[in-house]
C-alpha cells in the first residue's frame, strides 16, 4: 500500500475569532475547522452558537477580528472587494429563507447571476442554461419558469434556490439550516438534493444546521460548534459515541424528541 495521500481541503478555517461590539462576547473564539472537498460536511450546534456567523465569514459577508479562511489553499481577501468577488465565484449559498428575489420569476431568479456576470450571453442560451440547471435539481422548467416564488412550495423554493446557487458552476455549496421549518416530505426533498449535489455534481457541501437526523444520514464529516469553538470533529459514528457533555445532551434531546414523535 502506498503512502496515504492528504485529502484536499476545500475550506480551511484557522483561529477565527469574532466579537460584535454591541454584544461584547466572543461569538467565534479561535475556531479551527477543515472542510474536505467533494464531501458533505455538517456543522451542528445549538441555536445562537455562531453557526450562521461562521457561514457569513466564509462567504465574506463578515470580516473576522482575527484568523483567516483559506479556500482551496487561497486566503480569503477581506480587504479587497474585487478579489473577494473573484473568490466568491467558488461559492453558491442556499440561505435559510432561500432568499429568492420575490419580485422575479423562477427564470429571472436563476438567470440573475448568469446575466450579471456573463452579460454577452444571448437570451436563448440563458433560457437553455436555466432550464438545464432546473432539471439538474429536479424541477420541470416548462411548468415553473414563469412562476413567482410565492407560488411554489417550500421544497420547490429550496430547489430554485439551489439552482440559482449552482448556475455559475461553483465548487462549494453552503447551506444555512436547509431543513429547518420544512415538513417531512420537503425535508426528504432537500436531503436528496444535498446528496445529488455531492454525487451527481461533485460539489463540496457545507451545511450548518441543528438537524441531527439529517446530519447522521448525510454527513461524511460532522463538526460540533459550542462556545465559539469546534468541540468535536469526526464522522457520524464517532459523533454518536462522543463523550462531550454538550453533545451528549444534544443527542439525548434528539432521542427524546424522536420518541415523542413516534408516540
Amino acid at each position: 500500500m502506498g503512502p496515504k495521500t492528504k485529502q484536499l481541503a476545500a475550506i480551511e478555517i484557522k483561529n477565527l475569532s469574532k466579537t460584535f461590539p454591541r454584544k461584547k462576547e466572543k461569538v467565534l473564539d479561535r475556531l479551527n475547522l477543515t472542510i474536505p472537498a467533494k464531501q458533505i460536511s455538517f456543522v451542528l450546534g445549538p441555536s445562537g452558537t455562531g453557526k450562521s456567523v461562521l457561514l457569513k465569514h466564509i462567504v465574506g459577508l463578515l470580516r473576522p477580528d482575527e484568523g483567516e479562511i483559506d479556500i482551496f489553499g487561497q486566503k480569503l481577501p477581506y480587504g479587497s472587494t474585487k478579489k473577494l468577488n473573484e473568490m466568491r465565484k467558488h461559492f453558491g449559498v442556499l440561505f435559510q429563507g432561500v432568499a429568492l428575489f420575490d419580485n422575479m420569476t423562477v427564470y429571472e431568479n436563476v438567470a440573475f447571476p448568469l446575466c450579471a456576470h456573463q452579460r454577452a450571453l444571448k437570451k436563448n442560451i440563458v433560457v437553455e442554461m436555466v432550464s438545464e440547471t432546473l432539471l439538474s435539481v429536479g424541477l420541470d422548467p416548462s411548468a415553473n419558469l414563469e412562476k413567482y416564488p410565492n407560488e411554489l412550495s417550500g421544497g420547490m423554493q429550496k430547489r430554485v434556490g439551489l439552482a440559482r446557487a449552482i448556475v455559475l458552476k461553483p465548487d462549494i455549496i453552503l447551506y444555512d439550516e436547509p431543513t429547518t421549518g420544512l415538513d417531512p416530505v420537503n425535508r426528504q426533498t432537500v436531503e436528496e438534493m444535498i446528496l445529488e449535489a455531492k454525487n451527481k455534481l461533485g460539489l463540496t457541501n457545507f451545511v450548518i444546521s441543528h438537524d441531527l437526523r439529517a446530519a447522521i444520514a448525510l454527513a461524511d464529516k460532522i463538526a460540533f460548534i459550542f462556545g465559539g469553538q469546534i468541540v468535536f470533529s469526526g464522522n457520524a459514528d464517532e459523533f454518536q459515541q462522543s463523550s462531550h457533555p454538550v453533545i451528549r445532551s444534544f443527542l439525548r434531546a434528539e432521542e427524546i424528541h424522536k420518541k415523542r414523535s413516534e408516540i
Binding site: 462567504v59 435559510q96 429563507g97 432568499a99 429568492l100 440573475f112 456576470h117
Partner: protein, 255 residues
C-alpha cells in the same frame, strides 16, 4: 452628549452611503433598464397623485389670496401671487412630500424586506454589488424625477389657481395673469427646480439608506419604513428654510 454623537455618526453614515452610491453610478456595469424601471416607478406612477394634489393646492391658495387681496382691491395679484408661491415653494415642497409618502415609503419597505430576508446578502454572495444594483439607480431616479414632477405640479397648480380665480371667484380672465411677468422671474422657476432636485436626492437617499440598513424581522421593516418617511418629511421642511436662504444669497446676493 451620547445622543449628539449618535446623531453625528448617523449623518456621517448617510453621507458616506450617498457618496458611495453616486460613486457606483459612474462605474461599470451600467444598468439603464434598472434606472428606467425605478424612474417609471417614482415619476410616472406619481403623476396622478401629484396632479390631484397640485390642482387642489392651486384652488385653495388662489381662494386664500383672493380673500386677502380683495380687501385692498388687488384681485389682479391673485394669479401672480399663486404662481410665485407655487414656483418657489409649493411645487417642490408638496411634490417632495407626496412622492416621499408614495415612492419613498415603498423603497424603504422593499429594501428593508430584501435585507431581513437575506436577499441583499444573497446578491453580495453572487458577487453583485447591492449598492450599485439596488441603491444607485433609485437615487438617480429620485434626483431626476422630482424636478420633472415639480414642474408638472407648478403647471397643474396654476391651472387650479386659474379655475378658482376666474371660474369660481369671477376675476377677469384677462386680468388674472396680466402682471405675471412683473412678479415671476426665471430665477423663481430655477429656485423651485433646485429645491426639487435637492429633495429628490434627499428622499431617495434617506429611503434607501433606511431600508438598506434595516435589521431584525418584519416589525423592523415597518419601523424603518415609518422612520424613513417621518425623517424625510421633517427634513424637507427644515432644509427648505436653509435652501431658501442659500438660493436667495446665490441669486440676489442677500439672505
Amino acid at each position: 452628549m451620547a445622543r449628539l454623537t449618535i446623531f453625528v455618526e448617523e449623518v456621517g453614515n448617510i453621507m458616506i452611503f450617498m457618496f458611495r452610491a453616486i460613486y457606483w453610478l459612474i462605474k461599470t456595469p451600467y444598468r439603464p433598464n434598472i434606472f428606467l424601471e425605478h424612474f417609471y416607478f417614482i415619476a410616472n406612477k406619481s403623476v396622478f397623485i401629484v396632479t390631484l394634489t397640485a390642482i387642489f393646492t392651486g384652488l385653495v391658495f388662489a381662494i386664500q389670496f383672493y380673500f386677502g387681496f380683495n380687501v385692498i382691491n388687488a384681485d389682479a395679484l391673485v394669479g401672480p401671487a399663486s404662481a410665485l408661491s407655487l414656483a418657489r415653494e409649493l411645487a417642490p415642497v408638496f411634490t417632495a412630500v407626496v412622492v416621499t409618502g408614495r415612492a419613498g415609503a415603498a423603497m424603504a419597505a422593499e429594501l428593508g424586506t430584501m435585507r431581513v430576508t437575506d436577499q441583499i446578502d444573497a446578491m453580495e454572495v453572487m458577487a453583485i454589488n447591492p449598492l450599485q444594483y439596488l441603491v444607485s439607480p433609485r437615487i438617480l431616479a429620485g434626483f431626476i424625477a422630482l424636478p420633472i414632477l415639480s414642474t408638472l405640479f407648478l403647471f397643474i397648480g396654476n391651472i387650479g389657481a386659474y379655475m378658482a380665480g376666474v371660474w369660481l371667484l369671477g376675476i377677469d380672465s384677462s386680468l388674472f395673469y396680466s402682471h405675471l411677468s412683473e412678479f415671476v422671474e426665471i430665477q423663481d422657476i430655477l429656485q423651485g427646480l433646485i429645491k426639487a432636485a435637492f429633495f429628490g436626492l434627499m428622499f431617495s437617499t434617506l429611503s434607501t439608506y433606511t431600508g438598506f440598513t434595516t435589521s431584525g424581522g418584519a416589525k423592523a421593516v415597518g419601523a424603518s419604513t415609518n422612520r424613513a418617511v417621518v425623517v424625510t418629511l421633517v427634513l424637507i421642511l427644515v432644509s427648505d428654510y436653509f435652501l431658501t436662504l442659500g438660493i436667495r444669497f446665490l441669486f440676489y446676493g442677500d439672505s
